[in-house]
């Protein structure tokens, strides 16, 4: 058998269940690789070596006792550091929560544990999930395992890099405007942002509450189906989670889709897109056509991307998204006050307002401060109608565009990112250039829809290209089946980076 590190989460689960390998062996192999490679990749904020091995041994004992192991029995996974866990710290990669120890565990993580998973640790991210490169982490940037001079994307960059570099079998991330799908594309892994309400947000530190959703980052589509099936479902502790049956994502993955119709949103194939990425996605569309699918052009007019004479990009969807996300962020982050938990200024002050204002100024990073300030501005008296209320109206127009597109087709196929992974420092000078990373991903958060990012091969310079499959609300089953069709027909599956000394054959 090849190394346990080469197995997908599903393969590893089956190997553990059949006794071919123990969970303790697998966990030790991952911990060893983390020790060797994570000083370079910096995917983890915290590693739970002792607790992980204890959990692995419990699973191995359950197996010897003939007890059932669960859908993820013994499989070592990682979790983005904005999901609360009663073990260790929950930092959101922010100085304001650097020492915060959550008193409870997020529902999605609890469900992984309930399915027998071993949690290896917490993954680095852009501070409070605000960013597209993981350079906004207050601790250190994460590196792309394909080229450590490049970013892994963000904000779930630590989770994506950990999966890509083989530092966990799969991971959870969160996606507010592309934060699962964009890093998945940059690191050559699979990422699913489920429908809003499909996965409980209880215990997910809130950024944009009407947009945030937890989802998996994995080696292949089958693992995404496996993890989504485990974390999905209604939770009385999150009033926005829906009472709706969970489809059998994994069990139906290989069922053929009768008369599948795939739409290509013409607005997403403009000059803003790297031609190499456009060609890769058109190639995938051709593959689907050869497999019997119909390919049609559709339109998402309010997600259109305009390029002016100077090459500047603009889009209604980007403007709408950032107004909504920043407004929600400014409200959600009001809770960090230096009183209940988190950083408090060491300055002695007799004034409670000064205590709030100094604590927040000292411990929020520049991007978080900018978003809170902008959100406060757009919600303030006199500007509310011009910005926030206007954005909510445009949000409806964006959703109507998707509704109309899905009258003409079953799923959309489109890019995830305008380019492949960029270099560290390349986009940090101007916040707007970083926001434009999300031009193809954020519309569907505004509409609440599911989106899957899967690898579409490598660019000429050897960096992964991602493509996105988008479906109507609660169509995860279809989206995953289309992803599986592309994966099987194209033969692009489980891309492996070659960072120094990263050979998984040990």
């Amino acid at each position: 058998m090849s190394s346990v590190l080469d197995l997908t989460a599903l393969e590893l689960r089956d190997a553990i269940a059949s006794g071919e390998v123990s969970s303790a062996e697998a966990t030790r192999a991952y911990l060893g690789r983390i020790e060797r490679l994570d000083p370079t990749v910096r995917a983890y904020n915290e590693v739970f070596a002792e607790q992980a091995l204890a959990q692995a041994e419990r699973i191995d004992q359950a197996r010897s006792g003939g007890r059932p192991l669960g859908a993820l029995g013994g499989v070592p996974l990682a979790v983005k550091d904005n999901m609360c866990m009663a073990c260790g710290h929950t930092t959101c990669s922010s100085k304001i929560l650097a020492d915060f120890e959550a008193p409870y565990t997020a529902t999605a993580v609890e469900k992984l544990q309930g399915a027998g998973a071993v949690i290896l640790g917490k993954c680095n991210m852009d501070e409070f999930a605000m960013g597209s490169s993981t350079e906004n982490s207050a601790f250190a940037p994460t590196r792309n395992p394909w080229d450590t001079a490049r970013v892994p994307g963000g904000s779930s960059g630590g989770s994506a890099a950990a999966v890509s570099a083989g530092l966990c079998a799969a991971a959870l991330g969160s996606d507010t405007g592309g934060s699962i799908r964009q890093p998945a594309a940059f690191c050559g892994v699979v990422g699913l942002k489920p429908t809003y309400g499909r996965v409980s947000r209880y215990g997910l530190v809130a950024y944009g509450s009407s947009l945030d959703q937890i989802g998996p980052l994995t080696h292949d589509v089958a693992d995404a189906a496996l993890l989504t099936g485990v974390i999905a479902g209604h939770d009385p502790r999150d009033s926005t989670s829906v009472l709706r049956d969970i489809d059998d994502y994994l069990g139906t993955l290989d069922e053929p889709i009768e008369s599948l119709c795939v739409g290509l949103p013409s607005e997403f194939f403009s000059d803003a897109l790297d031609p190499e990425i456009g060609a890769a996605i058109r190639g995938a569309a051709e593959t689907l056509r050869n497999a019997g699918a119909a390919i049609v052009d559709v339109s998402l007019p309010h997600s259109r991307i305009d390029v002016d004479d100077e090459g500047n990009l603009s889009s209604y969807a980007v403007a709408c998204y950032y107004i909504v996300a920043m407004a929600e962020a400014s409200s959600n982050l009001a809770r960090y006050d230096g009183v209940h938990y988190g950083h408090r200024t060491p300055d002695r002050t007799d004034d409670i307002i000064a205590l709030y204002s100094k604590s927040r100024a000292e411990a929020f990073g520049p991007e978080v401060q900018r978003r809170v300030l902008l959100g406060t501005y757009t919600l303030s008296s006199g500007y509310y109608d011009a910005y926030y209320n206007k954005a909510l109206k445009v949000r409806r127009l964006i959703r109507n565009d998707f509704d109309a597109a899905f009258e003409a087709c079953d799923v959309l196929l489109c890019p995830v990112t305008p380019t492949t992974a960029f270099r560290l420092g390349e986009k940090t000078a101007d916040p707007l250039t970083m926001y434009l990373q999300d031009i193809y991903t954020l519309s569907l958060n505004l509409a609440g829809l599911p989106g899957l990012s899967i690898p579409a091969g490598l660019s000429a310079s050897g960096m992964p290209i991602g493509m996105q499959v988008i479906g109507p609300a609660f169509s995860e089953q279809t989206v995953l089946r289309v992803g599986r069709m592309i994966e099987q027909a194209s033969g692009v599956r489980r891309l492996s980076p070659t960072i120094a000394g990263s050979n998984t054959q040990e």
Partner: protein, 100 residues
């Protein structure tokens, strides 16, 4: 186009946001926020007079929990991360002014 955000407005938003801004931050923020707000103004191109706002994509409204008592965080757990505490209370500087 004139920047809609001047340094005084940045300072005012800083007060509303409860973030103490240093003087050297204010000019940079005025420029950055001005260019981002300028970008937001693109939405004014769209006629939305007859469009209903959409605050939330989920069709879930007013979910009520049963009014039954259940376990909740004990004071020691709730206060475990407090920067300063006094018994079972969060400790803060004086909030209410002297009545004299």
């Amino acid at each position: 186009m004139q920047n809609p955000i001047d340094p005084d407005l940045v300072r005012h938003i800083g007060v509303l946001s409860r973030i103490e801004l240093r003087d050297e931050q204010v000019d940079v923020l005025a420029r950055q926020m001005g260019s981002i707000i300028g970008y937001f103004d693109k939405l004014q191109e769209l006629d939305t007079d007859s469009v209903e706002p959409l605050a939330h994509a989920a069709d879930v409204f007013n979910v009520l929990a049963d009014d039954t008592p259940g376990p909740s965080l004990e004071p020691d757990r709730a206060l475990a991360n407090a920067p300063a505490r006094d018994g079972d209370f969060f400790k803060v500087p004086k909030v209410i002014g002297d009545s004299s």
